[in-house]
């Protein structure tokens, strides 16, 4: 059976740029209470903002819609779902175009967009995107205790209590 969260916090915001900061603040408060480090809280804020921004910009493209944010609080981790009912996109196709900027390529080819998904993947321990009718982004970050010189790109060792 799937492990049940200790607590669940749900938030629905209008899919408008104005409200992305609200999602970010809510997650920041939850992560702070759970005992995440300053840097990890900032990572969570950014990842959630990127997921919401994606919904605001792509899913509804000008139409009114809503973004659902579910924060599943576990003993050792925070699992966040960002859900919209807008137009879904081919995540694997987008993924193939994302990554760090390659400075060898001509500057004219450097993307101004498309960094969001890459940042989510870089900053969270696990990110899963799917959905046919709308998009569901599921992301997980583990609480790291007594962090010593960890590195963003390297997979973290999870405390097992």
């Amino acid at each position: 059976m799937r492990e049940q969260p200790l607590d669940l916090v749900n938030l629905t915001i209008p899919a408008k740029p104005d409200y992305v900061a609200i999602a970010r603040l809510a997650v920041s408060g939850i992560a702070n209470r759970m005992g995440f480090s300053y840097d990890d809280i900032e990572d969570l804020k950014l990842a959630v903002s990127e997921a919401c921004t994606n919904s605001v910009e792509h899913a509804y493209s000008g139409e009114n819609g809503e973004i659902g944010l579910s924060c599943n609080i576990f003993e050792n981790r925070l699992e966040i779902e960002v859900v919209d009912q807008g137009h879904s996109f081919d995540a694997s196709e987008v993924e193939s175009r994302t990554g760090p900027i390659q400075f060898e390529v001509s500057m004219s080819l450097v993307r101004e967009r498309g960094l969001g998904l890459y940042l989510m993947r870089s900053l969270m321990d696990h990110v899963d995107i799917d959905g046919d009718d709308g998009v569901i982004v599921r992301m997980t970050k583990y609480i790291r205790k007594n962090e010593v010189g960890s590195h963003v790109e390297s997979p973290a060792s999870y405390p097992t209590r």
Binding site: D39, E42, T53, I101, V110, E112, L119
Partner: protein
């Protein structure tokens, strides 16, 4: 949640721009508009981000756009005052390798 942008130009051929606040999908359009207007002027732009405690991909996109515009018009975009969080994001995204930075940026605290 808002940003404040201050412009001053005491040095010749250089415009100093200081930004305060959080740069996200809501506030980035203000910064984009300001920067792209200045990019048409042909001056170097010195962007002080010491008052920016949060930036996401939308904000980074604006900086990339301004960098490109400056590059094509022969001007420079120099970024300074970044806190360790911003420095880290520039490193993760690879922007650190591309863009030009002033001396007063904080080190990436995480590596």
């Amino acid at each position: 949640m808002n940003i404040t942008i201050r412009e001053h130009s005491e040095r010749e051929h250089t415009i100093d721009l200081t930004v305060f606040g959080e740069v996200d999908v809501y506030t980035a359009p203000q910064l984009r508009e300001k920067l792209l207007t200045l990019c048409q002027g042909g001056s170097n732009i010195h962007l002080d981000l010491a008052g920016v405690d949060y930036i996401d991909s939308t904000g980074l996109g604006v900086l990339i756009g301004a960098y490109k515009a400056q590059k094509s018009s022969g001007g420079k975009l120099i970024i300074s005052g970044m806190n360790s969080r911003l420095t880290r994001l520039f490193r993760i995204t690879g922007l650190q390798e591309i863009m030009e930075f002033g001396p007063d940026n904080q080190e990436d605290g995480k590596s």
